[in-house]
């Protein structure tokens, strides 16, 4: 197995040596359409968000007085109120803690499982995979009662991991780790040629070494993707968190923010919109951080084998 230089995209070739007209046409066909698709998709993804932005900077922020252009001028009042009248900062920290730990642990657990499902053949493998898929399909609002039952006991015995603690919530989220991510990762482990790990095993590496030193680095893009997806799912999770966290200090963003708009019609929509925007910040930062792993094209190097 020889290490290969990082691959270059196929579109890299052809440009400079060709004549100007060809270069122009090839820019349109090679790059131009990409920008077109990108711009259209960005427009599609942004316009509902612009609506939220406009509500967030509108001091009279109710849901429907806001169009795309703020009607009552622009002010930071909603953002100020968000911090002054709610425990937003605290919720934010809780969310980042819960989502960060849960997604990191969840990626690790599901990577382990995906490796086994992809590379090993054992009794009950297909059944296990299918069960993972099926268990996800059970409606969650019914399971709430059972989760209550379990955690009432847990809270009695070990209050440190019971209701109103981030760790209890993380435990519940880890329950869903395998189901959500194993499939995703197994698909990628499957695309890596078997010769890679076979040759490593021939060289005397143990299964753990193959996993940690060879497989994981090769699937970095998908580890990053999984981590991000898992982070987003966790930070936006509401159903379980809302019954789990009643203490204001323990709440996550989704639970705390939901409390702002429910019941009292939509008086708080401006504040809510401001909070919604800020909720997206950790996700965007994490994505920025992970992007280089996602797009670094690492996997390609090893394939020739």
């Amino acid at each position: 197995m020889t290490a290969v230089a990082p691959p270059r995209d196929r579109t890299d070739r052809g440009g400079p040596s060709a004549g100007p007209r060809r270069a122009h046409r090839s820019w349109v066909s090679e790059v131009g359409w990409r920008h077109l698709v990108g711009l259209l998709a960005v427009a599609f993804s942004l316009f509902p968000i612009l609506f939220v932005v406009s509500a967030a900077v509108n001091p009279l922020g109710t849901l429907s007085s806001t169009g795309l252009v703020p009607s009552g001028g622009i002010s930071g009042e909603n953002f100020a109120n968000l911090f002054a009248r709610t425990a937003f900062g605290r919720w934010f920290l809780n969310s980042v803690l819960v989502a960060g730990l849960a997604s990191a642990a969840s990626v690790f657990l599901s990577a382990l499982a995906a490796y086994a499902f992809s590379r090993m053949r054992f009794l009950g493998r297909r059944i296990g995979l299918l069960s993972l898929l099926l268990i996800q399909m059970f409606p969650q609002f019914l399971a709430i009662v059972a989760i209550f039952l379990i955690f009432s006991t847990v809270t009695d015995l070990w209050p440190e991991i019971g209701f109103n603690t981030p760790f209890g919530l993380i435990l519940v989220y880890l329950g869903g780790a395998l189901g959500a991510n194993t499939w995703l990762m197994k698909g990628f482990f499957d695309t890596l040629p078997r010769e890679i790990d076979e040759s490593a095993t021939m060289d005397g590496a143990s299964h753990a070494q193959v996993f940690f030193r060879i497989m994981l680095p090769l699937v970095t893009p998908i580890l990053a993707v999984t981590a991000l997806l898992s982070f987003i799912t966790t930070i936006n999770e509401f159903l379980v968190a809302s019954v789990f966290l009643t203490d204001t200090e323990a709440k996550t963003l989704a639970v705390g923010m939901y409390g702002l708009i429910d019941g009292e019609r939509n008086n708080n929509f401006g504040i809510f919109a401001a909070g919604t925007l800020l909720t997206a910040v950790p996700t965007v930062l994490l994505f920025q951080f992970l992007q280089r792993y996602i797009v670094s094209g690492l996997a390609a190097g090893a394939v020739k084998g």
């Binding site: 290490a3 691959p7 995209d9 196929r10 939220v52 499982a113 030193r213 994981l216 936006n236």
Partner: protein, 538 residues
């Protein structure tokens, strides 16, 4: 320390560490490996010991046995050389069992009970609730000013009520034995007549009383007409339970009217001869009653097929639509020549980064006929949610918006994993870009992503929020408020099970067993097909 290497690896520009150096003494037990193992197992055992103390305190021996067995099992698994797959599967599976499988099994079990509002607890709890609810003040009786006191230590001593009759000012001491008057010179009272000190008694503060709340609530001083009970900590009243349970006839009897409600073990309720049922019931097993109701109830079976077809279309269109758009975006940005890819990508994942419940509400408002952004921008007057097809199109559009960033991310990751050499080779062979996409990129992508498409289908099949927070199932036919054009099976059953007179969890669980079976069959059949693709690689 292997973890550190794994963490550092990908950050280096050429992260591939090359093959692991060949080992001549091919012993798989390395020092780092062993150290990690020892630390992790040690921590596991440590956590188990920590968890064991409260179990011992509570006398939960079954729980303790389970804990010891699980810990021993874990240690054995990671110290033996056998069961390699299990070493990788067990950690996640433990969580899965505890927090997913167990709740699901519990839910399935409730399908065979009448569990729901009015039938949540045990019969004993129902009896207590009925008796407590029937305690009324004895007509014409005295309202006492109360002080809770003890003859011993505030934390443990026997409790008494010091009761002042506001009319006469006399103070009595009451306990389970009855009421005795105290001499006036032994007590001091405040302006409201409440005892502030009494010789031979220590008064409890509210904090101290709070610690013994249950004893105080249960303390009843028997009187001729009933019993004196506390109403809070500063007042007491003479009350009498109008309804009492009689174990002899297994019934509740009303003292005033003499009416009798007999326990019905099949219904989990006390029922009178005239059919009147007491509201406070209890949980009983009902066998297959809930399941047969799902099949025989015309309200459920009637619109079932129509709802199922739309539900399938919704799930397929949501999964397929988001995949197509996500893949298109990923392909478009999969080129180093596109400037600003980083910005594009961040903007594209924004819909996924926003809390989805908030955005669903925003979308609902954008579809408003008269004031919605969509109609205003397009200069139309479409009653989006008032018409079956436009409502369906609307929810699918919302799903597309919410879901495509997920597929975009996954497809971006997947494209990176496809060796560029393969597509390069194809283009050298003269294949057009479309051909190389069709013949090489897409099949490879599907290997990685088709299980995800199944998962996405399954998720959307039960996507409760997508409907509940937008159309709520609308539009509904005027003559049938129970099933609407955009209803999924899940929203429709939710309305049946929780929309009526209180939540019917047992019934809801029965319906979800049916839905689950249905999705499971569809998914399992589709899953069989992925086997062929998978085998290509194994």
């Amino acid at each position: 320390m292997e973890n550190r290497e794994f963490g550092a690896g990908p950050a280096t520009p050429v992260p591939h560490r090359g093959p692991v150096p060949p080992r001549h003494h091919a012993g798989p037990v390395t020092v780092t490996g062993l150290a990690v193992k020892v630390v992790v197992l040690g921590l596991t055992v440590g956590i188990a010991v920590w968890a064991a103390f409260p179990l011992v305190d509570a006398g939960a021996w079954a729980g303790l046995t389970l804990l010891v067995a699980a810990t021993a099992g874990l240690c054995y698994l990671y110290l033996t050389r056998r069961y390699v797959p299990a070493k990788y599967l067990v950690p996640g599976t433990l969580f899965l069992l505890a927090f997913q499988v167990l709740p699901v099994l519990y839910t399935v079990a409730t399908a065979f009970t009448n569990f729901g509002d009015g039938h949540r607890g045990s019969k004993q709890e129902a009896i207590v609730a009925i008796q407590t609810a029937s305690v009324t003040q004895v007509p014409g009786s005295t309202e006492y000013a109360l002080a809770v006191a003890t003859t011993g230590d505030p934390a443990t001593g026997p409790l008494v009520f010091l009761l002042t009759d506001p009319a006469t000012g006399t103070v009595s001491v009451g306990d389970a034995g009855g009421l005795r008057q105290l001499a006036a010179e032994d007590v001091t009272v405040d302006a409201g007549g409440r005892v502030t000190a009494a010789r031979g008694y220590t008064l409890l503060t509210i904090g101290q009383a709070g610690a013994r709340s249950e004893e105080i609530t249960n303390l009843a001083v028997p009187t001729a007409g009933g019993a004196i009970r506390s109403a809070g900590l500063s007042r007491a009243y003479e009350g009498k339970a109008q309804r009492t349970y009689d174990a002899g006839c297994d019934c509740i009897r009303d003292a005033e009217s003499g009416k009798v409600w007999t326990a019905d073990a099949d219904l989990g309720a006390f029922v009178a001869a005239d059919g009147e049922r007491l509201a406070q019931g209890w949980k009983v097993g009902v066998g297959f009653q809930n399941l047969t109701r799902v099949v025989t109830d015309p309200n459920i079976s009637g619109p079932f097929l129509r709802t199922l077809i739309w539900n399938l279309c919704f799930a397929v269109a949501s999964a397929g639509g988001t995949f197509a758009l996500g893949l298109l975006c990923a392909l478009a940005l999969h080129s180093p020549r596109v400037r600003g890819r980083t910005i594009y990508r961040v903007l594209l994942i924004l819909p996924y980064a926003m809390p989805s419940f908030a955005m669903l509400l925003v979308w609902r408002d954008m579809f408003n006929t008269d004031f919605g952004l969509l109609n205003n921008l397009l200069g139309m007057h479409v009653d989006w949610f008032g018409n079956a097809w436009s409502a369906r199109a609307a929810v699918l559009l919302v799903q597309l918006w919410l879901g495509f960033p997920y597929m975009f991310l996954v497809a971006t990751g997947a494209l990176q994993a496809i060796p560029a050499q393969l597509t390069e080779a194809a283009s050298v062979d003269g294949a057009s870009r479309w051909q190389s996409f069709r013949r090489i990129t897409l099949p490879l992508l599907l290997v990685a992503l088709s299980p995800l498409l199944i998962a996405s289908f399954a998720y959307n099949f039960n996507n409760f929020n997508a409907i509940y927070l937008t159309t709520e199932g609308a539009p509904f036919p005027a003559d049938n408020p129970s099933v609407g054009a955009t209803d999924l099976l899940i929203t429709y059953t939710y309305r049946l099970a929780f929309g009526g007179q209180g939540a019917q969890y047992g019934f809801a669980a029965a319906i979800s067993i049916f839905i689950f079976t249905l999705v499971a069959i569809i998914a399992a059949v589709t899953f069989r097909r992925t086997r062929q693709q998978e085998e290509v690689y194994s």
